[in-house]
């Protein structure tokens, strides 16, 4: 992956991998823009900013932890790095660039640099325009599936990363590792939320 290699090369030139983060932080501070507080394994800095900003906009922190609190952005970078093959990695990078291009065309900035209401406007349009996922049967979607596009598939990854994290899956969603007998019809109020597993 070219982008990844480029980032690695930068780190090597800088002397150590850790150095690249502090260097980043320095540049970002100069521009007075949101800092990237983690070191991406696969994405370049701008793509990583996009991932963090999207996660934060889709699943913000409220009285419960947000996506960034449970490191969904770091997970997504890791998944792109370790579970995507080369073709899929090239595709996702192209899709991210395409997404930022849309933001640029509309507001003259990439997504993470937008104001909150501009981010909202972008995502509202994506929600309206992105096809939805078909339902599946035993691990395989059925019916004719239209391409859902970058936003909807990213959102799916973000939701999964969020809900399958320990902080949410164990402590916020209803976690019952050993349920015992199946009970097929109980009041929702008795459960009081959505099952984790």
């Amino acid at each position: 992956m070219k982008r990844r290699e480029a980032l690695k090369n930068t780190a090597i030139l800088g002397g150590t991998a850790a150095f690249s983060v502090s260097l980043l932080t320095l540049f970002q501070a100069c521009k007075a823009q949101p800092r990237l507080t983690w070191e991406p394994q696969f994405l370049n800095v701008e793509q990583a900013q996009l991932v963090s900003a999207l996660v934060d906009t889709i699943i913000p922190k409220t009285d419960t932890p947000g996506g960034l609190d449970v490191k969904v952005d770091i997970l997504i970078d890791l998944l792109y790095d370790k579970t995507y093959d080369e073709q899929a990695q090239q595709n996702i990078v192209a899709e991210m660039d395409g997404f930022n291009d849309k933001c640029n065309a509309k507001f003259g900035k990439v997504f993470y640099q937008l104001a909150a209401d501009q981010k909202k406007a972008i995502l509202q349009a994506e929600e309206v325009n992105s096809p939805k996922f078909n339902s599946g049967v035993w691990g395989c979607s059925v019916g004719e599936q239209k391409p859902v596009g970058f936003y909807r598939s990213f959102k799916s990854l973000a939701v999964w990363g969020y809900c399958s994290s320990e902080a949410i899956g164990r402590d916020v969603l209803k976690y019952d590792p050993v349920p015992g007998d199946y009970q097929g019809c109980i009041p929702l109020s008795e459960v009081g939320g959505v099952w984790s597993l």
Partner: protein, 575 residues
């Protein structure tokens, strides 16, 4: 019976003894039963397993893990996908169970036509991964070939196997609801699992609109009451990572420990059965040639009888590879039918929809089971179709989308997050059919000597396709599914047919069929090779037709029956 001991200390020192009373090739669903029956009768048994040993509980490193315990949340890497490049088509392989799927790269096969062959190369075979759906075949199934003229007649009828069904069911533990249907005989049941409220409503509506159709809870090899020291199902639905309660049936958790408890079993892991040795003078088999998978060494083991339970296509591969002057085209292949008449069930054709109502209801537990709609076509004169012979059944179920439906919710931000955590989303219901496949001579496997595996052995070329009757059944499956969901009041109904190739049902059957006539079949009524009676084949290879219901229970019953026949014949000195 006392509780199972979980540290089995399997005797794996096969080098001390090269001669046994019996050799069982394969330690899966049927091999486990052969081992148990033969060992309990006092025979010294060598079980050959091509992969590693798995000790129940002790060797389930992932049984208590959750998604967050893995760096990649259970996803696998591209390298792992390459290793399992055939099996990944199922979409079922994750970090927690990947080691139970065979290494496709080391074990290639040729798809003359598309065929998904799922293999499990370690102790327990696919009994660690199976769906646990457990149904008796009926008289209708055993008579089918004779009545409509496809394939050859089964040499047995329902009455021959019924007592053996009962025998294995009492030991396996099958939960389900008795219905008294002739086309789906009841098993010896443990209490049924519960239907949820949506399934109950849909059942009432479907049975009301279609009086000849029934909907019931799936009949499954999950304990709903403790049995023989095994605990009942805790509805964790993590079966493929191993069950700490021993609640689902596998050979690793049930039959092999029983065989081991007799002290009569020796297991030889990493042992690839190369061929069965035939003695021209004695006119019987005398043993098995084995390749040590780790060293490549060829070793011969000897026995009075041999049970071939390597799984349908692997058993046939061994027989095809067992050539001699007497059997130049493979052991027992006088008929020319060895390798032929391969069948599977059609898969993933049906309908799904959204159910309105019961939004204030939910369930507790991850029930490893769903609903079942037994066959209703071609069961009598009134249900006769002019479009196809045989029939199909459906599996399915209702559940709420939960957070898994979150990506589709047209919202984001604080409110979205709140609903993700608190609203279980809509109820969804689906049914998906499994249709019977006819036995066609031209659906076959052959030895491919140009394409060798890691051990230099010929691989299989699989040449199999659906034909007119299966495609007509699939068409009916989808039409009926949509119609039933409409009558049940579901919304946003989607009919589907994924057009999966054969093999996806993972119910491959045939290629060494039983029959009455040695000229047209490989095995007799007690699963013995017609012309080499001390070799028994009791896995899916033996099947003469394939019904529309899941086959494992029938393999188990046929194996127990054949093993007890072997024991009695040995006592009479007939083998």
């Amino acid at each position: 019976m006392s509780e199972f001991k979980y540290d089995y200390n399997y005797n794996i020192d096969a080098k001390k003894n090269m001669t046994y009373d019996a050799i069982v090739i394969g330690s899966g669903m049927s091999g486990g039963w052969a081992a148990k029956e033969l060992c309990e009768a006092g025979m010294k048994v060598l079980v050959l397993e091509r992969g590693r040993i798995i000790q129940h509980i002790k060797d389930y490193p992932n049984m208590n893990k959750e998604a967050w315990d893995w760096e990649l949340r259970g996803s696998i890497t591209p390298e792992e996908r390459k290793k399992h490049y055939k099996a990944v088509r199922t979409n079922w392989i994750g970090e927690g169970n990947k080691d139970l799927y065979a290494n496709d790269a080391e074990n290639p096969y040729t798809e003359v036509k598309p065929f998904m062959w799922l293999r499990a190369h370690q102790m327990g075979g696919r009994s660690q991964l199976w769906g646990k759906q457990t149904y008796r075949w009926s008289e209708l199934d055993f008579e089918a070939n004779a009545k409509d003229g496809h394939g050859v007649d089964w040499p047995i009828r329902y009455k021959d196997i019924a007592p053996w069904y009962t025998y294995v069911e009492k030991y396996v533990g099958i939960s389900g609801q008795a219905l008294g249907l002739p086309q789906l005989p009841d098993s010896h049941f443990l209490p049924p699992m519960e239907l949820n409220c949506v399934e109950k409503d849909i059942r009432q509506r479907i049975e009301g609109a279609f009086p000849s159709r029934n909907m019931t809870i799936g009949r499954v090899a999950h304990l709903t009451e403790p049995l023989n020291g095994r605990g009942k199902c805790q509805t964790r639905n993590k079966c493929s990572m191993g069950c700490p309660y021993s609640a689902f049936f596998s050979s690793v958790s049930v039959t092999l420990p029983a065989a081991n408890a007799t002290g009569n079993m020796t297991v030889r892991p990493f042992s690839i059965a190369h061929s069965i040795i035939y003695d021209e003078q004695k006119e019987k088999a005398t043993g098995v040639k084995v390749i040590d998978a780790e060293t490549g060494e060829m070793i011969e083991y000897h026995a009075r009888i041999i049970f071939c339970n390597a799984s349908t296509l692997s058993s046939t591969r061994i027989l095809l590879n067992s050539t001699s002057n007497r059997f130049p085209n493979g052991l027992g292949n006088d008929s020319g039918e060895l390798g032929h008449n391969l069948m599977d069930h059609t898969y993933r054709v049906g309908a799904l929809g959204t159910f309105e109502g019961h939004e204030d209801k939910y369930y507790k537990g991850r029930r490893p089971n769903g609903i079942y709609i037994p066959r209703y076509w071609n069961i009598d004169e009134a249900s006769k179709s002019d479009k196809f012979v045989r029939g199909f059944g459906y599996q399915g179920g209702a559940s709420r989308k939960g957070w898994g439906g979150g990506a589709n919710v047209q919202d984001f931000g604080a409110n979205f997050k709140d609903s993700l955590l608190k609203d279980p989303g809509p109820w969804e219901f689906f049914i998906t059919g499994f249709a019977e496949c006819l036995p066609y001579h031209e659906n076959k496997v052959t030895l491919d000597k140009n394409n060798l595996d890691k051990w230099g052995q010929p691989t299989l070329a699989i040449d199999c396709e659906w034909k007119e009757n299966e495609l007509a059944l699939n068409k009916q499956i989808q039409e009926d599914a949509v119609e039933m969901l409409e009558k049940a009041g579901l919304k946003d109904i989607v009919g589907f047919d994924k057009k999966h190739e054969p093999g996806f049902g993972i119910h491959e059957m045939g290629t060494a069929r039983m029959g009455r006539d040695p000229k047209t079949s490989v095995l007799n009524a007690t699963n013995q090779i017609h012309a080499c009676k001390n070799v028994f084949v009791t896995d899916g290879a033996c099947m003469t037709s394939n019904s529309c219901v899941n086959p494992s229970l029938t393999y188990m019953a046929l194996t127990a029956r054949a093993a007890n026949h072997a024991i009695s014949e040995l006592k009479k000195l007939n083998l």
